[in-house]
Amino acid sequence: MTAPAPPRVVIVGAGPAGIRAAQTLVAAGLAPVVIDEGARAGGQIYRRPPEGFTRPPETLYGPEAPKARDLHAVFDRMVAAGQLHHHPRSSVLAVAGGELHVQSDAGGSRIGYDRLILATGATDRLAPVPGWQNPGVFSLGGVQIALKAQGVALGRRMVLAGSGPLLTLVAAQLLKAGGTVAAVLDTAPLGGQLAAWAGLAARPGLALRGLAMRARLGRLYHAGVSLDRIEADERGPVAIRWRDASGRPRETACDMVGLGWHLRAETHLADLAGCRFAYDETWAQWLPMADRMGRAGNGVYLAGDGLRILGADGAELAGRLAAAACLADLGLPAPDPRADLRRLARLERFARGIARAFPWPADMVRALPDEAVVCRCEGITAGALGDTVEYGGPEANRAKSLGRVGMGRCQGRYCQLAAAELIAARTGDTAARDVGRLRGQAPVRPLLVGAWEKTP
């Protein structure tokens, strides 16, 4: 008699959640498959520069350096010991019939699973600003990646705008590295930020660090602004027009604009894997549903910012919890989750405080002029999107098929939330949640392979 085959557990994503999930499974004697788009494990916030770069983690990750070092070392040790199967530079394009369709430099392949842990993280949450389609406008996360993973600033005179913890963090990091930041424009009003203090007090140290960082930005930082337009010539931005908290029009010369309003969970794969979704008012977006451990049903587990936007520390906990749930469901000995669950609850209080302090700029989006581009991929304007509501009604998927917003190559990642807001605005006092959720479709990344490439 041969022993039963060990269960095939696949983890998608090698950020803090994916790494801790892998570690937990390996400790229980399993050898998971880890599929990750990065060349080196770490995820976005603990992203590692390519081989041969010399800045130490202290320079790259500041006070979080010990956490980054530990995560990288834990993962590298498991790879070196052959305890897991690492597929770097690989994208999962589709989930169907218990298989993942994976694309890597070597071509396409299929990887079957018995249990699937999705730790797909988040991207910046974007709101359109007139002129944002110009070259030289980047997401805040992109600006940070350029600095961290490449050692470069994407402009000589940069403006960072939006809201959320990343806004001040990226500004501080750029200044420290010797970049020139012309202004940091926060659409969150100061009053709202203070009102959220109760939630933020769940992690007073972190909250104070954020305030200290902001204080160091001094006169560069403006709260409660609204953004009117990014002026550009063919090379890219030349200035950003904005209004300060008292409504006074201002203009700041710049050659780069970084935009972002906190984070948007990356949920395309959860959608394809059959997860259900619910609209979350705090984070103002659709999030997949799971129990506190991350169980989403059908052998699928969710962890990290792709489930709830708790940040890197929360992702580490959620990764461990999802793996513990997976082990328990397989009938294997699992670590006791109670302490992690308590910590997770505290991090969630803090994270919801952050989300309330730096809200989605619904009013700014609703007031977009008709000529503003909403879909950067295909240049579709707010006016054109509004027209689809006239004959298609206020529903996201219908507006997508009629007006193509959400159909471009980013597959709605950067336009979907704003589009829902605009569709809702067109229909009077509808809320964005009533517009519905754009359904994910495979492939969740464009196919790269030559045979498909040549097809017109």
């Binding site: 070259p135 470069v152 890219g236 980013c410």
Partner: protein
């Protein structure tokens, strides 16, 4: 810092703030010889020499990437041979020949 690596004269948008001691790498953009550093992504390499990586397919403006994490697909460029590349997640290599407009046989 020499020409080609993001000085205003070279017309690039990237400013190198750190990690400048890496080995230079030569590549060709629309037939023009450019210099990048080993470990640069194709996106960094191109933006060190010019403000955008290609024209938009749907509007008049250029494209220079947006997310730098493989999510927006704004940063495609074409090698002279073979399928297009996502420049933010492809490392530049010595002698690479890249185009900011699709090669002739493209639809």
């Amino acid at each position: 810092m020499s020409g080609g690596q993001g000085s205003p004269a070279a017309g690039g948008r990237v400013v190198r703030l750190a990690e400048t001691g890496r080995r230079p790498v030569t590549f060709f953009l629309d037939g023009r010889e450019c210099v990048a550093l080993a470990g640069d992504t194709v996106l960094t390499a191109i933006l060190a020499s010019t403000p955008a990586v290609r024209r938009s397919d749907f509007g008049p403006e250029g494209r220079a990437g947006f997310c730098l994490m493989g999510a927006c697909q704004d940063c495609w460029v074409w090698p002279e041979q073979g399928p297009r590349l996502r420049s933010c997640s492809t490392p530049v290599a010595e002698g690479m020949r890249l185009l900011t407009t699709p090669p002739g046989d493209w639809p």
